[in-house]
């Protein structure tokens, strides 16, 4: 039996900020076309994990490969080449507020791929339509958009260059439940249409159940449970059970002063 090499592989990844070990030996394989959702409390290192894969942060030790290429210790040009395969939706959308919406969406095509501005505008309008926004939005500025629209523009920017890998950082945080569901649906549609590998980090269990093929839970710098979404309600892991049910009582304790 032959085993397919994972699209993304993490081995014993350690990352600390001062005395605090944020990632403390993370191992994870993500197959091509798979949608993995990483769950965990605030400050558990989920965003750090994604930033390490993208080369924005450098782990102290361990190995991260994308398509078999080692990312840890890569130079700027090589990181840019790896990131050309990756799209990302940021928690705050992180739209460039000095550029109109269409230039935000087509940024990757304009700057990294050298597309001419007319073609880039057409690409932006077409991509915006795929996330349910009409052409009028293209000429607006990010500050003129609502939170939900900014998220959709961020999603359009993430998928505009048809990346092989897409990261979603807290895609539904700060949105009302209906808009959150719209975003979840758009994520599923976009990922399936592109056949992309998706890594999502969230605390929103509705998102997890909608988006995930597989779920990984990060706690105290380690992945304490990894399994298919179908098994999450019968994981047998008290940490996972407490988290998915949102209970204050359980093995995960918050340091609160009473």
């Amino acid at each position: 039996m032959t085993e397919t090499a994972p699209k993304i592989r993490l081995r014993d990844v350690h990352k600390r900020f001062g005395p605090k070990a944020v990632l403390n030996g993370v191992d994870l394989d993500i197959a091509a076309g798979e949608s993995v959702v990483v769950i965990g409390g605030s400050g558990s290192g989920k965003s750090v994990l994604i930033k390490c894969i993208q080369g924005i942060l450098r782990p102290e030790s361990g190995s991260i490969t994308v398509d078999g290429e080692e990312v840890v210790g890569m130079g700027g040009r090589q990181i840019e080449r790896v990131n050309a395969k990756i799209g990302m939706l940021f928690q705050s959308a992180a739209l460039f507020d000095s550029l109109p919406v269409w230039e935000n969406v087509a940024f990757g095509a304009l700057q990294a791929k050298g597309m001419d501005r007319k073609a880039a505008f057409d690409l932006a309008v077409e991509t915006l339509s795929k996330v349910g926004l009409n052409a009028d939005v293209a000429e607006l500025w990010p500050a003129e958009l609502s939170g939900g629209m900014q998220k959709r523009v961020g999603l359009a920017r993430a998928v505009a260059t048809e990346p092989e890998i897409i990261f979603f950082d807290e895609p539904t945080t700060g949105l009302d439940p209906i808009m959150a569901d719209v975003i979840n649906d758009l994520i599923v549609t976009c990922v399936k249409r592109l056949g992309a590998t998706a890594v999502t980090i969230t605390h929103d269990m509705a998102s997890v159940r909608k988006i995930a093929d597989r779920v990984a839970m990060l706690y105290q710098g380690k992945l304490i449970w990894v399994g298919p979404i179908a098994d999450i309600d019968k994981s047998g892991n008290p940490y996972v059970e407490q988290f998915i049910n949102g209970r204050a009582d359980g093995p995960i304790t918050m340091d609160l002063r009473r």
Partner: protein, 257 residues
């Protein structure tokens, strides 16, 4: 012993900061000369620094020239040396006041806005977004600003020189009763190429330092609004201090005998 440790700690901290700044500058300069280039970003910065700073720099230089003419007339008249007013105005403006005043005004206007813009981009993850879109933030954000600072400040100072001398001329001829032709002749006779060139070199150095401090502080800002505010303050203060220090160094290089 603790006091010595404190001094040592401060000194080591200072060396560390200088090292980080030098490394940042070296990386940024290396990106200024290596493709890809972003001409739209460069043009935007040229306009922001070179064109939109013209009113504030022009007004500063104009009034500096006017005040200089008044003050030097009032001082020199005690020694019956009023004829030196034109010389004092043109040399002071071209060698010192033009570049230094322009530098300090641009540090306040542009250094602050660079730190605030890049700082906001940093804390709202826009800088990270650039990286994920295969665009090097140094190339896209820092290099165009350094290039614009380096090239636009000398042009601004050239305009400031002309307006400063004009301000002195207006006061000299209009208020102090100098003959227009002889004032201009005095100005022209005393002026040497080196006076203007040294001022323009200073301007280039100041422009680079203003942009460097704006970008460095913005790029390393942390937290939210408070962090961006601190970055903006640090950018203006550090650029102003560096302008005054580098002014002495360049003057020493050009004019020390």
């Amino acid at each position: 012993m603790n006091f010595l440790a404190l001094i040592g700690g401060v000194f080591l901290g200072f060396l560390g900061a200088v090292g980080r700044l030098a490394r940042f500058a070296a990386i940024a300069v290396s990106h200024m000369v290596r493709p890809p280039f972003y001409p739209r970003q460069v043009l935007r910065q040229f306009l922001d620094i070179g064109y939109f700073s013209l009113p504030v720099v022009g007004l500063t230089a104009l009034f500096a020239g006017m005040v200089l003419a008044l003050q030097s007339y009032s001082g020199f008249s005690r020694f019956q040396a009023e004829g030196a007013v034109a010389m004092v105005v043109v040399l002071s403006i071209t060698r010192e006041l033009g570049p230094v005043f322009a530098g300090l005004m641009v540090a306040g206007r542009i250094g602050a806005s660079m730190a605030a813009e890049i700082g906001t981009m940093r804390v709202t993850e826009q800088v990270d977004a650039l990286t994920t879109l295969s665009t090097n933030p140094f190339k896209y954000l820092v290099a165009p600003r350094l290039l614009a600072g380096l090239l636009m400040m000398p042009l601004l100072v050239l305009v400031a020189d002309i307006l400063g001398v004009f301000g002195g001329y207006v006061i000299g001829v209009g208020k102090l009763g100098f003959n227009s032709g002889s004032y201009l002749a005095n100005t022209w006779d005393v002026l040497e190429t080196l006076d203007v060139v040294s001022g323009l070199v200073k301007a280039g150095v100041f422009g680079f330092l203003i942009a460097l401090m704006g970008c460095y502080n913005g790029y390393h800002s942390k937290g939210g609004a408070q962090g961006v505010g601190m970055a903006t303050t640090n950018a203006v203060v550090s650029a102003s201090i560096l302008i005054l220090i580098s002014n002495y160094i360049v003057t020493e290089i050009f004019f020390a005998r």
